[in-house]
Symmetry: C2
Subunit: 620 residues, 2 copies
């Protein structure tokens, strides 16, 4: 036995205790505290000038937030006031924990849409999901699991966004034309629309379509470059939702004065006043008046308990990235912030909240300097809840529908889809599957299907090891020389065996060469696992049946160790020499000699470096 | 624009039409027909001598098959005769389609165990699963999807086998002691055993334990080397199950003559006669007498529709491999054979069948020469069904339990588990999860959990690209030079950006060096996808914010093409030069000059070979 024995026969496991001690040391440093509480970084340098800018930005965002909140409350299938309940607490908490100045936390179209099927009109479920989302996101954030977001590829995100926009937009098509509908799903909405198209209400349809056209036109305003008042136009464009709401309410109010009934379908009455502060509901009462316990509520929520937190994380992290301008986004910190936002928000009857792309963009365009802008957004929403609910009684559903549809039209990443199509056709597979499953099955499962299908690409690639065989002849000896590279996983184990045995058999039958030695070079192997090691041992036995010996030459120590620890006898397969001719000499002189050679070599080469020039290349 | 344009801007998709034409050509060759019908290879050379050997082997296997069939019928929770119904058709069909002479197809412990919870005493479900398994395995075989088995790693197989053996063995512990039990599950069986231990029947317990000890002793017989009659001992050892059955029946028969009731708990009466030939049941009647339709049956079967075929494939392929002696096993052909076996067997009221390890080992040990041995096994089972069912009425349950438990004790791959533990501790994670989930959740989901957890290892590895950065200085220019290698998947995309930006930022803050150029070498990139390309474009923008330029040098054409097709503008990032100094010169002379240089180079180098010596290494 030689010097390698320690390396070959003892697995070096990571020192977990040491790592934990190291971690707990860095955990209490000032830098870490500052990283976990970003407010400590910017608050000491806060000036009055920054305050003014933040105030203007915060108020602008607030006006949009109010209208979107009412709309998204409706999308979630709840009284619209729940949208407002969900909008303020996130703004306040993000100031303390948020690391990106532009992000605005509140209800969003996709999350509301995801909540909808699980809520069935009972707000208790929505508030419970909000609480659970808070807990889960917080724990994942503290465990630094923000990296999980990386499993969601660009095609899957693009597909999900397209499907979500189509679903949310289609869910409003009935409201736009004043048709009654109970569904928010893609197919059902359109079936309802075409089935009841004769029930279209002229007033609603006119208001809805005009508002939609106005919104689309105003969105284009900011791109106009002819006239001089560009900044005014830009501001108008940003406030278009607020304008649409004001116009809608005004028309509705004026028209309703002259008759008895409302001229448009209107949203449910918004309960005036702030939401009560109370613990999230761990039990509820169903439609038939029966009490539903916590575990039954969880089982009713089903997979949403997992997917909604994931989506919340995805949204806030991608928004933070979009506005980070090249700075590194601390995904885990964003998750911690989002977790606290949801957790505390759930005590104010909130639905799950996350970063809103539209409002963050307005925030950014309004020139916000610090997360403090969120405070003014929050205050504005609280004021609306306290004093403006009477006004919202005149808000037509068609106006809300137009606002939501126009937002959805611009949420789809048309460019990205085109880019993916041009760049790599194969990536359209997860995209198409995600879109179809999201539209016709459910948003959350569609996304999971997309993630799984895309993961299959990686897994299927792992089935083909970086492994090429070639036949060589040295001193009358027929050899088969191969090099194995990179990470070799269990999925590749069998293909390794099949390729080698097929090669040797083919040489015998087609070329009439009897290969008596297979040499596998392995200095560039990344890692192997026990399945590969088991297969290597069985490859040796298989080759023995074909009167052929297997030699593993200059393998990376970690990889060789796995095989040697598996079976001590397998040590005989391994040879470590400086170059290829030495190896051949060793083989020619037989095993007894080679063992001592091996020992000499290993003694004179303490560093065991086997990378560098490749002797196989030199002689081939 | 230069010569590369065609390569960069046009994706070369695989020629599907050509591949199909090619495939259809080879499909009708004599070799393919021979491969799909292995009987054509060995039958023409069949001799009388081979027939005699096959006859002896077939009869030996048949005797074991009868006892195992009765046992496994009981394991599946059905009348034991269903085990016999399942045992003959597979033997006949495997002769035609099977490629491995030793494999014996029939009911097995694991599959019977898997069928058990879905059957609930109603054979119609078992027969339907058999039919569906046949269809699915056949289709997968024709689609050449045998490779899917590679996703099940050695630790997962070892864990599953351990858990299945424990479950099946524990399910018989009550029968061994004559205790009544309705459950076959691991926990429930032991709870029932300890809860009703005072109900132990002395007769059954004595017979059961003695039989078990006898079986374990006889298994050891073949290892005895002292005496001369080794081949007799070996044969005795192989026939131990048959002996145990004969002894059990004899004792029971003799003791029952003297009293009114049976001295032991006995199996249900075995209906004499052959099973009727009829189509598999596509509807059934449940316990309450209501008709259950096809779709409801399928939904009752649930995930078993997917997992049982997978397990059948896994068993037959792994057995074929174990006995192939170095020859390559055509997994897809084995699947086709297994598919036909199940398909036709389901017309004779069969439960799902697959290769049996125990019986295949007996077949091999008896020296079988061709798959024709199966014919004699099948005939023996048919004869038993026709004439011996009266005899089996005296078969005690305790004897069957002892046979099953002793089989389970030796099914566990103790050595493999120890080898995995020694070889790589990390691989114990999927093993432990598989065992726990199989034991305490369900066999099929446990296996899926194991497969998924093991796949996570591969996926998590794909998150770290082979990418290392180092800072260099040339002519006063601070550079950051990196090389990207291997397959880069979407999971690695973000880490690429974060690493690069962190490196550049760190150089600025810690070392006070302003890196103005990042060069990523990419001649050894395997493949990239659109998410990586999108991230590369955003990395360029991020670096621009840090006053730093990004250059991709000598990238593999396929990888560069993905980025260039994504955004035409991204073409500016790419440089192709013969060596590093040329690249630096090109950068120093500015972009206008470099573009023409680029053109010249590409014109003079039609072959675009950029591999070979690494200039980065030369200058570092």
């Amino acid at each position: 036995m030689c010097d390698y024995d320690d390396e070959l026969y003892h697995e070096h496991l990571p020192n977990i205790c040491g790592a934990v001690r190291e971690k707990s040391k860095t955990c209490c440093s000032i830098n870490t505290v500052k990283r976990k509480l970003p407010i400590l970084t910017w608050l000491p340098e806060y000036t009055l000038k920054t305050l003014i800018v933040d105030f203007v930005a915060g108020m602008t965002v607030g006006l949009t937030a109010v209208t979107q909140a009412i709309a998204y409350g409706a999308v979630a299938g709840l009284p619209p006031v729940y949208g407002l309940y969900s909008s303020f607490m996130g703004c306040f908490l993000y100031i303390i924990f948020g690391s990106c100045k532009d992000v605005t936390v509140g209800p969003t179209a996709i999350i509301s849409m995801m909540v909808y099927p699980h809520v069935a009109g009972n707000p208790d479920y929505a508030v419970l999901i909000c609480f659970l989302t808070g807990c889960i996101v917080l724990v994942l954030g503290f465990l630094n699991l923000g990296v999980l977001v990386r499993f969601i590829s660009a095609p899957v995100i693009a597909g999900f966004t397209l499907a979500a926009a189509l679903t949310v937009g289609s869910g409003q098509i009935n409201n736009l034309f004043g048709i009654q509908s109970k569904s928010n799903e893609f197919l059902k909405s359109w079936i309802n629309f075409f089935g009841h198209i004769q029930e279209t209400r002229l007033n609603d349809a006119l208001l809805g379509c005009c508002t939609l056209i106005l919104l689309l036109f105003m969105r284009k305003l900011k791109d106009l470059k002819s006239c001089g008042c560009q900044s005014v136009l830009k501001y108008l464009s940003l406030c278009r939702n607020v304008l649409a709401v004001i116009i809608g309410i005004l028309i509705c109010y004026l028209m309703s004065r002259e008759r008895e009934e409302m001229p448009f379908r209107i949203s449910e009455q918004i309960t005036p006043g702030l939401p009560p502060f109370r613990a999230p509901p761990f039990e509820t009462v169903d439609e038939e008046g029966q009490t539903v316990g916590f575990s039954e509520m969880i089982s009713n929520l089903g997979s949403a308990v997992g997917t909604i937190p994931l989506l919340c994380i995805l949204e806030v992290v991608s928004i933070a990235k979009a506005f980070s301008k090249g700075k590194i986004v601390d995904a885990s910190q964003e998750m911690i912030a989002l977790g606290f936002c949801n957790l505390f928000s759930s005590f104010f009857s909130s639905i799950p909240i996350t970063g809103s792309f539209a409002r963050s963009a307005i925030n950014n365009a309004s020139g916000v300097k610090t997360p403090l802008g969120g405070a003014f957004t929050g205050i504005l929403i609280l004021l609306s809840l306290a004093f403006l609910t009477q006004v919202f009684a005149y808000l037509p559903k068609a106006t809300l529908a137009a606002i939501i549809i126009s937002a959805m039209l611009f949420m789809v990443e048309y460019d990205t889809i085109a880019e993916i199509w041009r760049a790599k056709k194969r990536d359209m597979v997860p995209f198409v599957f995600t879109v179809l499953c999201c539209l016709f099955w459910s948003l959350e499962y569609g996304m999971l299907v997309g993630v799984l299908i895309n993961a299959l690409f990686i897994l299927s690639k792992s089935m083909t090891p970086q492994f090429q065989l070639e036949s060589q002849k040295h001193n009358g000896l027929e050899l088969c020389v191969a090099e194995l590279k990179g990470n070799v996983d269990y999925t590749a184990a069998e293909s390794l065996n099949i390729k080698t045995v097929a090669f040797v058999t083919e040489q015998k039958t087609m070329m009439e060469k009897t290969v008596s030695l297979v040499i596998i070079k392995g200095s560039n192997i990344g890692s192997i696992d026990s399945t590969v090691a088991l297969n290597l041992v069985s490859l040796r036995d298989d080759l023995k049946q074909l009167q052929c010996e297997l030699i593993c030459w200059n393998w990376n120590m970690a990889a060789a160790g796995v095989v040697c620890r598996l079976q001590r006898k397998a040590r005989n397969m391994f040879r470590f020499t400086k170059n290829f001719s030495e190896l051949l000499e060793m083989v020619a002189n037989g095993n007894s000699k080679s063992e001592s050679d091996n020992k000499n070599y290993s003694n004179s080469n303490g560093n065991h470096s086997h990378t560098g020039s490749s002797p196989v290349d030199q002689i081939s």
